[in-house]
Symmetry: C2
Subunit: 211 residues, 2 copies
Amino acid sequence: MTQTAPRRAMLTKADAQRQRVVSESVEIFSRRGFRATSMNEIAAAVGLSKPTLYHYFRSKEELLVRIYSDVLDESLEMGRETVAAAASPLDAIRDLISSRVAYTCHNQALLKVCFEEEHELPAELSAEVLSRRRAFENLFLTAVQEHLEQHPGLNLGMTPSIYANMCLGAVNWSYKWFRPAGPSTPEELGRQMARSLTASIDPAFVRDKAH
Amino acid sequence: MTQTAPRRAMLTKADAQRQRVVSESVEIFSRRGFRATSMNEIAAAVGLSKPTLYHYFRSKEELLVRIYSDVLDESLEMGRETVAAAASPLDAIRDLISSRVAYTCHNQALLKVCFEEEHELPAELSAEVLSRRRAFENLFLTAVQEHLEQHPGLNLGMTPSIYANMCLGAVNWSYKWFRPAGPSTPEELGRQMARSLTASIDPAFVRDKAH
């Protein structure tokens, strides 16, 4: 007990420092691009000496991997909670869309780095990153399949996988066009897009005679 | 006449050579990234000496500008023709979506370069590129506004501008996930997505009582 308490405090301080490095790097990478940024600039921005920065992250690549890893972990956790809390598969689809839009708009710089610098990830990690992203996409896909099973009269008009790609594409692209000064908050945007993207599979929207 | 004929033939040969450089560059940039590619590699891939390559393009940046410029010109022309040929604003919206998906899927490497390397454009050109892209987006936006004017009972549930961003995001993202070996052709995918994305504003889909 007397040994672990101070050790924990030290870990916490190191964690906070590491988190500060990650946040500053995201800002710089999103503005200047990963390749154009040096570890020197990151050290200067965070106010650390270069050796101290290298103590936290041995390379720029390690930093990028940490950024990706955090986003994927957070996304998957949020996705699982969203699905677990939803009253129906259709609600799960809508809530996944709206929470994802809100997250993207609140973390625009972070998502820009993730979407535009993926080819900079070390090759041996790309497969692992891809499989964690697939886990999130599968949450969405499963909700779509369950909804269609509940409503066999609905005509999706495409494979569930294409529908998932289409919806997540519309959602992800918001990192490019969202403006915080615009007329809608990230949460409002999320609800608006969720309603529109699910219109074709909402039993309350679709005329029976259309099928 | 005797003078212009050979001159035209020479221009045509130079144009063909230039086009070959552009096509090869797109392939290499999309695989390795713009920054990581050298003019040496491009010269080797096209089978030209470095001086000959520099005769066609004075720099890698000039090549990138040409790639962007070609895509924007072609997109705007296709967009205008699509709108002009459409029987109604709703058809224009659908045809813009479906032709754009087909174009994106047929030119995946080209669109990857355009979407991921935009920050590499010379700063003085970014504004010009942005204004030509806006011209395409405005074609879409105008069709949405005209459709809503024709059907005042419809509830878009968001601003026309957000709807345009949402649809074009879904369309553009297809460069990331389209697989030529998949179950649908680019043209089929386009029609499927157009139907789904316009369900919320299709008078034949929407129940009157929903409003």
